[in-house]
Symmetry: C2
Subunit: 118 residues, 2 copies
């Protein structure tokens, strides 16, 4: 586990807003400038600018200034930390699903018994 506490704070915080997740999705297809990122979002330009700053703070986005355009690029590495964090709990959530499967299997078994000899 490489991820320090403050980094996880900032990444999770960055991801906890749908506008920022929308920005991230847009950046999957490559670099985009702020105007392009702002287009589909129903908010003022400065608001988008602030969201991008939050993403930069979490190191999810880097900025390359070219003339008057600020091109944003997705940096996916922090997602590795998020994944790693979540995977800690895989056993726990699969355990639950297994229990649910067992329950369903049990119910189907009961169903057969009810139908079969009847």
């Amino acid at each position: 586990m490489v991820s320090d506490v403050a980094q996880l704070d900032s990444v999770f915080h960055a991801l906890a807003h749908s506008a920022r997740r929308t920005i991230i999705q847009q950046l999957r297809s490559g670099e985009k400038n702020l105007s392009e990122l702002a287009a589909p979002l129903k908010m003022s330009f400065p608001a988008v600018s602030k969201h991008v700053r939050v993403l930069e703070a979490a190191r999810l986005v880097t900025r390359r200034v070219r003339g008057r355009s600020h091109f944003c690029q997705l940096r996916a590495e922090p997602f590795a930390e998020v994944s790693e964090y979540a995977e800690q709990f895989r056993q726990l959530w699969e355990q639950r699903f297994d229990a649910l499967e067992d329950l369903l299997a049990e119910m189907q078994h009961e169903e057969k018994k009810r139908k079969g000899p009847g």
Copy 2:
């Protein structure tokens, strides 16, 4: 993808605070009541109570009241959504790591050339 937008909002928000992640870690070893959860945290009891509510809102924790004790249990399912979300970007971050590996391999290759014929 089952996770709706509001659910991701609340889960990421819940995870974006180290005190809440500490609570989650404590709950990995099983149910604990609020007093137990509060013990290692350097904040007042009501503050912890509020953090637990945030975790409940994100469905990361459920509460079972037994007498005057409120036992909290971890529900790991939302982590599946978090993992699923992060995994979307695996290709992207591995791409980067691959590039880094390539660079390292290249450097080692250069190193051999330098040493070898010398």
